[in-house]
């Protein structure tokens, strides 16, 4: 189906199903249970899963396939956000023009930065991209304030032209009249599921983005990108010019980032320079490595993991902990709370950091390796020795381009 073989079609359908049922799957605990805390099925967070999923999928096309580690991809995220908010200010709250402009401007921006940065490889390439992103970040606060509105952040004001905004038209972001913040809340038994327009909009785009990346992975172009990672020397002496290949990958991944940035602004019509900061660039690197660089699902998993930690673990405070351990004798309760305290709430970074280290040391292929190992275990028991498909489970490779 759709140019995919049976195996990939099945894979894609699973991804589609998981994405569409996310509002249910991420809400496993009844509202009244003490574990409701861990439910992640609220619109805000689900939107972030989809958006950062797109960001990471795009990043993986560059880093996972070619091995070029960009440390400046957040710049494109920021450019996408600014472009989209500008379309809100000039036209109307319909997100479509904004998203299109976000993809185009981030693509052009990536072309420029990529053209220069790709003259070097390895750590020098990483530093160049980092320098460009930090430059953009600083410019957004200084010289470019007419475009970025400096520290306040870019937002829509009532006296903005909004030429396409009809009398009585929607004043929240929407897609052809369907407001992003609209939700259907369905209580089922003790559970409560929220089906939100914004999430489903992001989800459909994320599925399209995933499908495109799947096609790229399976294409001759994808094979060339893997060849770049494997041996650039051999590529040159085989008559292939590596530069346009890496540049194309860089621009495509920049456009993915711009799209993600545009979607962020589409869910919440704001754009601030902090979106371009190096920490944001680092985050997508972590997501991709944590999930499994160079694999199809890895980056999405990694993005979900990090966003889950950031939003759920960070909310567990001492009161919640006391609630959990209330059944224990007082002394023991306090002790346990004291021990767990540094790992939750504001300390969620610590847990994530430890987790990241564990993954890098014990699962160099990322979280997807867990699934691969399980499958290998089962297929071996089942008597088919080599069912593990190298295309679905690429061998883990060094994470930095040579």
């Amino acid at each position: 189906m759709a140019g995919l073989d049976a195996r990939d079609t099945r894979f894609l359908l699973i991804v589609v199903a998981l994405t569409l049922f996310t509002p249910i799957l991420l809400q496993p605990f009844p509202e009244s249970s003490s574990l409701a805390q861990f439910n992640a099925g609220y619109p805000d967070l689900m939107q972030r899963f989809a958006i950062f999923g797109i960001f990471a999928i795009g990043f993986n096309i560059l880093f996972g396939l070619t091995g070029y580690l960009s440390f400046g991809h957040a710049a494109f995220l920021g450019v996408g956000s600014y472009a989209t908010v500008w379309m809100f200010k000039l036209l109307s709250y319909n997100v479509l023009p904004g998203l299109i402009l976000a993809v185009i401007t981030s693509g052009l921006f990536a072309l420029l930065i990529g053209y220069i940065s790709l003259r070097r490889s390895g750590i020098y390439f990483s530093i160049l991209t980092l320098a460009f992103a930090q430059m953009s970040f600083n410019l957004a606060y200084s010289v470019l304030t007419p475009i970025t509105n400096g520290e306040t952040g870019l937002q829509v004001y009532t006296d903005d032209p909004q030429y396409l905004l009809a009398e009585g038209g929607l004043t929240t972001t929407h897609i052809f009249g369907l407001a992003m913040n609209k939700s259907l809340v369905a209580p089922v038994g003790g559970w409560e599921f929220t089906f939100n327009v914004g999430y489903y909009f992001c989800a459909v785009i994320a599925i399209a983005a995933f499908y495109l990346s799947l096609r790229i992975f399976r294409s001759p172009f994808g094979m060339m990108l893997r060849a770049v990672k494997s041996n650039q020397q051999r590529m040159s002496y085989t008559g292939l010019n590596t530069r346009p290949y890496t540049l194309a990958a860089f621009v495509i991944s920049g456009m993915y980032a711009g799209l993600a940035g545009g979607l962020m602004a589409s869910m919440d019509p704001l754009a601030g320079a902090e979106r371009m900061q190096w920490t944001a660039s680092g985050e997508v690197v972590l997501m991709t490595i944590l999930g499994g660089a160079g694999t199809l699902m890895g980056p999405v998993l990694g993005a979900g993991f990090i966003k889950y930690f950031e939003n759920i673990f960070s909310k567990i405070n001492d009161n919640v902990l006391h609630g959990w351990f209330a059944f224990l004798p007082d002394g023991l309760e306090d002790l346990l709370v004291t021990i767990v305290h540094p790992f939750v709430g504001k300390g969620w970074h610590l847990t994530l950091g430890l987790l990241f280290m564990l993954v890098v040391i014990f699962l160099p292929g990322g979280l997807v390796e867990v699934g691969q190992r399980l499958r290998r275990l089962f297929t071996r028991r089942g008597g088919t020795p080599d069912a593990a498909d190298p295309r679905h489970a690429p061998k883990s490779a060094p994470h930095v381009a040579e």
Binding site: G3, R234, M235, Y237, L240, N241
Partner: protein, 252 residues
């Protein structure tokens, strides 16, 4: 006028004169061997032909056009393929993919954005790659990672990658090094067949004299960066200068 004309090429590495006034003329469709002791400058000479190094002085003409100043991929696209002394392959890719890539390079040129078509749909390329791999008796390893091959198989794979391009000039830097005797003989037979059935010129660097004398029509002996003699295999065998510089002390 040969298809490859090297004229007065000099190359220095610091204080070391790696190539000293090298002249070499390789005739079209000939097999030309370059021999000489370790460090004679044989690989350096090949490096100057494929754009890896630029000679300090001198000219290199392939098919009447200068290759100097051109990028390696441009030189390859004019019809020169090279097998390296230490195998240069795509270790993370499968054996089949390793050979498909040169097929793409030959068909589509230095760059083409095939991002949506699937590799599977490229039947022609796949069949061509498989055919070359059968010639190299690597057909049982198609889906294996290239990095998992033995040293000899890696070399054969690299040869397959070069042959898949159907180059006009094939440069081979010690193609049988690291191969068992039986594999060496197989490689000799294969290269003989290629020599006799295709329009291809070969320049071959080899320490194994059995290989050299079975294949070459002309031999150039290089010593300390300078060509000592160039002649037919028969004459080279008995040449006193060669005996002294090379055969007397090395393998043979």
């Amino acid at each position: 006028m040969g298809i490859l004309e090297v004229r007065n090429v000099n190359k220095r590495f610091g204080g070391l004169q790696a190539l000293a006034d090298v002249n070499l003329s390789v005739q079209e469709n000939a097999v030309h061997a370059i021999i000489g002791p370790n460090g004679a400058g044989k690989s350096t000479l090949l490096n100057c032909l494929v754009g890896k190094l630029i000679p300090d002085t001198g000219t290199v003409m392939f098919d009447g056009q200068s290759v100097l100043g051109r990028k390696p991929h441009e030189i390859n696209q004019t019809g020169i393929s090279r097998v390296f002394q230490t195998p240069e392959i795509f270790g993370d890719l499968t054996v089949l993919e390793n050979v498909m890539i040169p097929c793409f390079a030959t068909r589509d040129g230095a760059f083409r954005l095939h991002a949506i078509r699937t590799v599977r749909a490229e039947q022609d390329i796949m069949e061509r790659a498989e055919r070359v791999l059968i010639d190299m008796s690597l057909q049982d390893r198609l889906r294996d990672h290239a990095a998992s091959l033995s040293r000899g198989d890696k070399r054969r794979l690299e040869m397959a990658m070069c042959l898949a391009q159907e180059p006009r000039l094939l440069l081979l830097d010690e193609p049988t090094a690291g191969m068992a005797r039986a594999d060496t003989n197989k490689t000799i037979d294969l290269l003989k067949e290629i020599r006799d059935t295709r329009n291809i010129t070969m320049a071959i660097i080899e320490h194994d004299m059995h290989v050299v004398f079975s294949l070459a029509e002309r031999i150039t002996v290089l010593a300390q960066g300078a060509p000592l003699v160039e002649d037919t295999p028969e004459n080279i065998k008995g040449h006193p200068k060669v005996q002294e510089a090379y055969l007397g002390q090395a393998h043979g």
